[in-house]
């Protein structure tokens, strides 16, 4: 084999795509979602993430320095800055689809870190303010991390709560994601599907 063909061969192999491996999770979250209605408006979606023991203990060791067992206001602020705010680069692991169309992510409100049974819990809410008409509407909520550094536990129907839906008929189900995967064997998270209409 001549030198030029060896260089050509090397160049060919240098273009082998190098990002085809599959990621693996380091942090685990069990997800709890509450949907609040105010009259005929879907006012907000409140999210509660309970973390695995290891990540919980790391963050608790870092931020619960004074009170031991709960976060003071200053500690909660520091935690938000150091271990939550960066999630804006990750759409807070949330995506909303209304009748098949993506919704812009509403601002994050009421972020609060707590500790329960040694587990770290993040809770926050997103004011969606969706008016519900008589025509049936379908809201799909997906929780996932594109990089799969974080894995969400499998969502069950019991992880979703509906509050004050007196003027609205709402029904929850957990369904497979309909989108076609971009890679063969790609992980597609389940979605929370909310079918609702004004009563």
């Amino acid at each position: 084999m001549r030198c030029s063909s060896r260089i050509a061969l090397a160049a060919l192999f240098a273009f082998v795509p190098v990002f085809c491996a599959y990621a693996h999770p380091h942090v685990f979250i069990s997800n709890h979602v509450a949907v609040d209605f105010e009259g005929t408006v879907l006012a907000r979606v409140s999210v509660e993430w309970t973390f695995d023991e290891l990540f919980s203990q790391m963050i608790i060791a870092d931020y619960d320095r004074v009170s031991k067992g709960s976060f003071t206001e200053a500690e909660a602020m520091a935690l938000k800055k150091g271990a939550f705010d960066n999630l804006r680069n990750y759409h807070y692991f949330l995506a909303f689809f209304l009748n098949g169309k993506a919704l812009a992510l509403p601002p994050i409100r009421d972020f609060k870190p707590t500790i329960k049974d040694g587990r770290l819990i993040y809770s926050f809410s997103l004011p969606l303010e969706l008016p519900i008409a008589a025509k049936p509407a379908e809201l799909r909520i997906t929780s996932y991390d594109d990089t799969y550094y974080v894995a969400f536990d499998k969502t069950n129907q019991s992880d979703v709560e509906i509050h004050s839906a007196d003027a609205v008929a709402a029904e929850v189900s957990i369904e497979k994601t309909k989108v076609k995967p971009e890679w063969p064997g790609q992980f597609m998270p389940d979605q929370i599907v909310l079918r609702m209409r004004r009563k």
Binding site: I7, L9, A10, H24, V27, Y90
Partner: protein, 315 residues
């Protein structure tokens, strides 16, 4: 009977090598919570098959933290033994994901002349380097820097990772240049027939074998990036005042990772051996050409992998 390697055989060989290299490539992503910035450009996608494993990894993660607490509270060796075993399993499973040196080791062994025991040595050098590096980084952050550990760790591992990708690119480049310039005494005649002037490389005699120094270089470059899981468990043990348990856990996680890497390295060595054997039946320069292809491919992927990830870290 005189047989020359067929085109089909060469295609098969190339496909096997490509599959091996591509399958394991990819970078470890930053922690979305405690890093700054968005997903890494070279982040690996999520796979359905790993989603099946996620509950297992989760159970292990929870159990590790729980066992660290039990070690503190109990004087019996039970929790410590369980901690050691689960750490080992965690290391084995965890290293199946991207990062952890699988691409590096597999391409390195395609490009090198190595025996199976070399992959064992590489695996354990990586384990050693990883354990020392993870402990050094965590202890430095905990006792000397004393800042917020989770963000400090992200910054430190990013720096270490960038240096490691740079080192891998350099090792890959050096190997690639060596393989391209490689001494070859054959003289191809114009009739497409290769006259074989006998020399060591062609006859399974004693081709130059990989040295300990080279194995250590590759182990240093690939093992030095600390696994976030291993670091979290040391931190948890430190905050519980059971540092010894943390050391045991990280050593066992590293050994588990080393085992996985050894298996991957061995597969690369066996694939190369199989391909060379398949192409060397009969006479002719087939085996030598296939060896060159395999070695240049390995070095080239290693170089491209290191360089692209190094650049992705910087931009």
């Amino acid at each position: 009977m005189r047989r020359r390697p067929t085109d089909a055989m060469r295609r098969l060989a190339a496909t096997a090598i490509l599959a091996l290299c591509v399958m394991y490539a990819g970078a470890e992503s930053p922690n979305p919570f405690t890093s700054s910035g968005g997903p890494s450009r070279m982040s690996a996608p999520a796979s359905g098959s790993i989603a099946v494993l996620a509950p297992v990894l989760r159970a292990m993660t929870d159990r590790l933290a729980e066992l660290a607490r039990q070690v503190r509270e109990s004087s019996s060796p039970g929790p410590m033994l369980t901690l050691a075993l689960i750490s080992l399993a965690y290391g084995i499973f965890h290293a199946l994901g991207p990062g952890h040196g699988k691409t590096i080791v597999s391409t390195f062994f395609l490009a090198e002349e190595a025996k199976l025991r070399h992959s064992l040595i590489a695996g354990y050098l990586i384990a050693l380097v990883h354990a020392v590096s993870a402990l050094a980084i965590v202890l430095t952050l905990f006792f000397i820097v004393q800042g917020v550990f989770s963000t400090g760790f992200e910054s430190a591992s990013r720096i270490v990772q960038t240096l490691s990708f740079g080192a891998i690119a350099v090792i890959g480049a050096v190997m690639l240049v060596q393989r391209i310039r490689g001494k070859e005494h054959s003289h191809a005649s114009g009739k497409g027939h290769t006259h074989d002037h006998s020399h060591a490389d062609d006859h399974d005699g004693e081709p130059r074998q990989v040295t300990f120094k080279e194995l250590f270089g590759i182990a240093l470059a690939s093992g030095v990036v600390p696994c976030p899981g291993a670091s979290a468990i040391i931190l948890v043990c430190l905050s519980l005042n059971v540092l010894f348990a943390g050391v045991v856990a990280v050593v066992m996680i590293s050994i588990g990772m080393g085992l996985t890497v050894t298996v991957i390295g061995s597969i690369a060595i066996l694939v190369k051996r199989g391909v060379l054997k398949a192409s060397s039946s009969g006479h002719g320069g087939g085996a030598r050409i296939v060896r060159r292809i395999v070695e240049i491919a390995g070095a080239s992927v290693l170089f491209a992998f290191g360089l692209s990830l190094f650049v992705a870290q910087l931009v």
